[in-house]
């Protein structure tokens, strides 16, 4: 252990001094021009003490003095993973589904609200996953399509009185059209250039929503449109004289079921797409665009399709979002949201459906849990991202070929 310490203490010390150098201008220079050192040192000392503990644990692990603890743990882990492998996947899926179904029965409004948020972001993340994870195009303006979907429902309902269920496909369609309009001129670009163009487009949509007073009511937003409603059969007058009764979905747990259904539809679609001929074409474009063109893949059409499909799911999520909030304003569709969705995809693991679930859950639930530390949220985000890229560059649950592809089944 002494050996290890000798090797790394210099780097560690330099790192800590560097943190001190960074911290002092942030905490020590006050707006009135005075300088102080006390606060910086206290904060720095806390950081130092915390990291030192980790440093020692790391050193002990490196030199093997933690073997008495790590060996049994890794053995238990192995045993556990062997056990989980013997249970077929559908059991887990069914279990998850049942848990999701009974979730609102045991939780309050707040927890349901958080769950709805998570599921909306799962839909968004899965949609973005097509563009980023499968087709390999960096899209920084993805939230624009979410906005298009949200405003589609709000406006269609306001002006034409169309119900949520009728608007849902329309919202998806409008978002898809928006995707094609942006995609058509921009998808000739590759890599970084595409990212910048999509970033610009995201801003354009937000600014249009903000400034087109006549249509969108500008920064004041739109409110006063309907919630989703459902028709329930009414058997009061006997079975054969059944009537339909209209019910507004006012209760939060009913909305939860709507978004759950939406998320499940999205998951099934994405899963089917992922393991289809189209999915393979997308992946080939991600891997090597020229080569896939040489193999007869019409790269332009497939890239456009990826973009449009991503937009479609965002549009549906957007329609639900506005139906739940019953208020939309351009505030909700800033670049920060795009970055957030992208974070979920990257954090969870590109191209992996359970990964995106975990990513969305982590990025929505953790800030809720740590509400007191709201001020440091962005700092923590940055820190977590850096640590992630160091230790799990492929995401929390890296995409592996879940299930078998059709051709593997034949063999």
């Amino acid at each position: 252990m002494i050996q290890e310490f000798k090797k790394t203490w210099k780097k560690y010390t330099i790192g800590m001094l560097w943190v001190l150098g960074l911290l002092w201008p942030l905490l020590g220079i006050h707006p009135d021009g005075t300088l102080s050192f006390e606060k910086t040192f206290t904060v720095w000392f806390y950081i130092f003490a915390g990291t030192f503990v980790f440093f020692i644990i790391y050193l002990m692990n490196q030199s093997g003095s933690l073997k008495f603890f790590t060996t049994p743990v890794s053995k238990a882990w192995e045993k556990g993973s062997v056990f989980t492998k013997t249970v077929p996947t559908w059991v887990w899926l069914l279990l998850a589904f049942v848990l999701a179904l009974i979730y609102p029965q045991f939780t309050g409004r707040y927890a349901q609200d958080v769950a709805i948020n998570v599921l909306i972001y799962v839909c968004l993340g899965l949609g973005l996953n097509i563009v980023v994870g499968l087709a390999g195009m960096l899209d920084l303006g993805y939230i624009a399509f979410y906005g298009v979907g949200a405003y589609s429902y709000a406006l269609l309902n306001m002006h034409f009185g169309m119900s949520f269920w009728v608007c849902l496909p329309f919202a998806a369609l409008f978002a898809l059209i928006a995707g094609c309009i942006v995609g058509y001129p921009t998808l000739r670009m590759r890599g970084d250039y595409l990212a910048i163009v999509t970033l610009g487009f995201g801003e354009i949509v937000r600014i249009i929503l903000n400034n087109w007073m006549e249509l969108t009511n500008g920064p004041n937003g739109i409110m006063g449109f309907d919630r989703p409603g459902i028709y329930l059969p009414n058997f009061e007058n006997g079975f054969f004289s059944m009537t339909w009764e209209h019910l507004w979905l006012k209760k939060l747990h009913l909305l939860y079921y709507v978004v759950l259904a939406l998320a499940i539809v999205t998951i099934i679609c994405i899963h089917r797409l992922n393991f289809s001929r189209v999915g393979r074409a997308w992946e080939s474009i991600r891997e090597d665009e020229t080569a896939s063109e040489l193999m007869g893949v019409n790269t332009f059409i497939y890239k456009l399709l990826a973009y449009a499909m991503g937009a479609l799911f965002a549009g549906m999520a957007g329609a639900f979002f506005s139906a739940r909030m019953r208020f939309v304003s351009p505030e909700s569709f800033t670049f920060l949201e795009s970055a957030m969705v992208l974070c979920m995809v990257v954090l969870g693991g590109m191209g992996s459906i359970p990964g995106i679930f975990l990513g969305a859950a982590a990025l929505i639930i953790l800030p809720e849990v740590f509400r007191e530390f709201e001020l440091y949220r962005m700092l923590a985000f940055g820190g977590v991202m850096v640590i992630m890229m160091l230790f799990r560059p492929e995401g929390l649950i890296p995409a592996k070929r879940v299930g078998t592809r059709s051709e593997e089944r034949e063999a």
Partner: protein
């Protein structure tokens, strides 16, 4: 020869931006042949193939395939017409399995049964691919990747196969193996082959005819045997 050429280039000019890589290339390939294009670095060998495949735009001249002008045909349409390229540096899809790589070769085809048979045939040509069909392409060695690239191109059922530097970065024994396979494909499957190589000796031994390309122009054209004998070629490309 009385037969029509399967591929004909007439005075083709092409390049990248303002740089002219090709300054009037003309060549003819007849069905059933193996033709080699040899030349130094930067002579325009790969650009010629990329121009035929429609990746690099033609500025002037014409490319005819099977009697049809293909100047403006999109790159992704060519495999359906039986013209396929194995690009330089292999360019397989590293994070897809070998099977998926082959599947992508058969991307435009809908005949599932025949695809399956062709895949079996590819595995019989390259047994190593059959053994590793569920591995990711990126985990293969260079030679195996080259084999995969050729197998992938064969899945398009080509009539004319363009091969760009199949020997690039491979051990001599593997190179020999790959050239044997190329000859086999040519003889048994009746695939016409246009080969671009820096390794002139190897290419000319395998080929029926050869073209020599220098700074974007064809400087010599002959039977492969005669090119090997040619003292100029021996000096410039065979290192004597």
């Amino acid at each position: 020869m009385v037969t029509e050429p399967i591929l004909e280039l007439n005075n083709v000019h092409a390049g990248y931006g303002k740089i002219n890589a090709l300054k009037g290339i003309s060549l003819k390939i007849y069905p059933g042949e193996i033709v080699a294009i040899i030349g130094a670095n930067g002579a325009g060998k790969s650009t010629t193939l990329m121009t035929i495949s429609g990746i690099v735009e033609i500025q002037q001249g014409e490319v005819k395939y099977d009697g049809q002008l293909i100047n403006k045909v999109a790159a992704e349409k060519l495999p359906t017409m039986g013209l396929c390229q194995v690009p330089e540096g292999r360019r397989i899809f590293p994070r897809l399995t070998i099977m998926e790589n082959l599947r992508l070769g058969a991307f435009y085809r809908k005949d599932t049964d025949q695809i399956q048979k062709d895949m079996e045939y590819a595995y019989s040509l390259f047994p190593i691919l059959g053994e590793r069909k569920k591995q990711h392409g990126g985990t293969l060695s260079g030679g195996e990747q080259q084999m995969l690239a050729i197998a992938r191109a064969l899945m398009t059922k080509p009539k004319l196969l363009l091969l760009d530097e199949p020997s690039l970065g491979l051990a001599p024994i593997i190179v020999q193996q790959i050239f044997d396979i190329i000859k086999k494909i040519n003889k048994e499957d009746n695939v016409t082959i246009l080969l671009v190589e820096q390794n002139a000796n190897l290419a000319l031994q395998a080929a029926d005819r050869g073209y020599v390309i220098e700074t974007g122009e064809i400087t010599m054209e002959d039977e492969a045997d005669k090119l090997i004998e040619n003292p100029k070629i021996r000096e410039a490309y065979l290192g004597e």
